[in-house]
């Protein structure tokens, strides 16, 4: 609260910060209204947001749906891990954003390219965390399941996956964050719609108020998605009572 007041004071009456550099609260409000009701960069605010969200969610799901099973496989089977590891080790250090030029070459600046980039970004954390989670399951849990004569399918479904679930969720959280970050970056580089596009155009237009609006959107949705995933985690893992300090 105090901060908001400080912000307002610094920009308008005191003119400490020039409006060309950083927007005042009024500027931001004006920009927001424009984006929300009149439209900016070829669309209303909610349209841009929806566009971005659609891509993130789709990309995230594809990455999770491919990453978690692979992580399970590599975590469980040392053979699979040894086989796939070299490729993985090769792909891993390449920052997701570095895939952007290549995907633009391949697929242009449309939706498909964005999804591919998101996939590269979100895939890796899912695999790694799932793998680690499987490896971390205590041996006596596995032994107990074997002693009880648990057949393979049931073993995965009712023992291994629940045991690794906390780690899997961590991976999903990182994947989601990576998806969002990467999408914004990809949209900044080249896009027709989306939150990143807003930022891009606002920067070219030298419109600080709109820049702020764009960044606020990025922050807000980044936070919201993390919260949502945390809620899902709480719901699906009722037996966990640990609290996280900083996620």
């Amino acid at each position: 609260m105090a901060l908001a007041a400080l912000w307002y004071l610094a920009t308008i009456p005191l003119g400490l910060i020039s409006p060309g550099r950083f927007p005042s609260p009024i500027d931001v409000w004006v920009a927001f209204r424009q984006a929300a009701f009149t439209g900016y960069a070829n669309g209303l605010l909610y349209q841009h947001i929806l566009y971005s969200l659609r891509l993130v969610i789709f990309g995230f799901f594809v990455a999770a749906a491919t990453g978690v099973p692979l992580g399970l496989l590599m975590g469980w089977s040392r053979r699979a891990e040894a086989l796939i590891n070299p490729v993985f080790l090769f792909i891993r250090p390449i920052p997701p954003l570095a895939w952007i030029p290549l995907t633009i070459l391949w697929l242009g600046i449309g939706d498909a390219a964005k999804i591919v980039v998101i996939w590269f970004a979100a895939f890796v954390p899912s695999v790694i965390n799932t793998l680690t989670g499987v490896r971390a399951v205590e041996s006596y849990v596995i032994e107990a399941a074997r002693m009880l004569g648990t057949p393979r399918y049931r073993f995965f479904k009712e023992v291994l996956i629940p045991a690794a679930a906390p780690a899997i969720f961590t991976g999903l959280r990182l994947s989601l964050q990576a998806s969002w970050t990467t999408l914004v970056a990809a949209e900044l580089v080249g896009a027709l719609y989306g939150v990143g596009r807003i930022l891009n155009v606002a920067q070219q237009d030298i419109y600080p108020g709109m820049i702020f609006v764009g960044m606020a959107c990025v922050a807000a949705f980044g936070w919201a998605m993390t919260r949502l995933l945390a809620a899902c985690e709480m719901r699906s893992l009722p037996w966990i009572q640990t609290s996280r300090v900083y996620s």
Partner: protein, 265 residues
């Protein structure tokens, strides 16, 4: 049920390039429905013996047979009660206990009947829908025992099952175990650090040497127990007061000391 035979069993673990000899040459025959306790200094290999019967490890030499057949892997015929309980935290008490029965393909009505019976036997009524983390250590171990018991196994393998419990809970569990064991006897292999526990519970006590272990001595407690009618006393402290108990306890203690003194360097 079944007899267990250790026939010149050796076990060496490969840690990196070094071989770690856990068992030197173990010969032991456990009769059908016999309750055997194995005691020995830390690291002597008593848990390894249990794991060989369970099928989590395999002998480097010699053979381990249950009911005449060599052990090929773990299974519900040799139920294990782990020191760490090894309950599945995401399953309720009921689901933890019933899993083994589901794996055996037993029909639902029969399953529920058996589980309810086991729950009653272990004094767990009312906790069917609780999760392990909501239970005390003693109760968790009861669930683990129920889980093993409900399988009606030929062999019950208990690896220091009361080691993680506090002293009072421990004595309660020991008394309960005696009650159940006398009610429905089966072959039991019980590994423990505690000499009192071994003498109180077992028909025979096997004393192991320090690593690499072998069976040093076998003490027949059962004949003493029956002769002195220990089961007449309900409470463990009353049994532990008896001269016959103290005699054998001290004997085993001394035997262990010999092993331990070799270990303290």
């Amino acid at each position: 049920m079944a007899a267990i035979v250790f026939d010149e069993v050796e076990k060496t673990f490969d840690i990196g390039r070094v071989g770690f000899a856990a068992l030197q040459s173990v010969d032991l025959t456990i009769a059908d429905k016999e309750f055997i306790a194995i005691v020995g200094p830390s690291g002597c290999g008593k848990t390894t013996c249990l794991r060989l019967v369970a099928g989590f490890e395999f002998p480097s030499a010699g053979s381990v047979r249950v009911d005449g057949r060599p052990v090929t892997g773990p299974g519900p015929d040799r139920a294990v009660v782990f020191q760490q309980f090894a309950l599945f935290p995401w399953k309720t008490v009921f689901d933890n206990i019933v899993l083994g029965l589901r794996n055996k393909g037993i029909a639902r009505d029969e399953r529920n009947k058996r589980v309810t019976g086991a729950i009653a036997l272990m004094n767990l009524e009312g906790y069917e829908k609780a999760f392990p983390h909501q239970l005390s250590g003693g109760m968790q171990q009861r669930v683990a025992i129920a889980r093993a018991y409900v399988l009606d196994p030929d062999v019950l393998l208990m690896d220091e099952p009361f080691g993680a419990l506090d002293a009072q809970t421990r004595t309660t569990m020991q008394e309960e175990l005696v009650r159940i064991a006398r009610l429905n006897p089966r072959t039991v292999l019980f590994v423990t650090h505690s000499v009192e526990e071994a003498v109180y519970l077992a028909d025979r006590v096997a004393i192991m040497t320090r690593r690499p272990g072998r069976i040093k001595e076998l003490i027949d407690i059962r004949s003493v127990r029956i002769a002195e009618d220990w089961d007449r006393h309900e409470r463990i402290e009353d049994v532990m007061d008896l001269e016959s108990f103290i005699h054998w306890r001290t004997h085993i203690w001394r035997s262990l000391r010999e092993e331990k003194s070799g270990q303290d360097r």
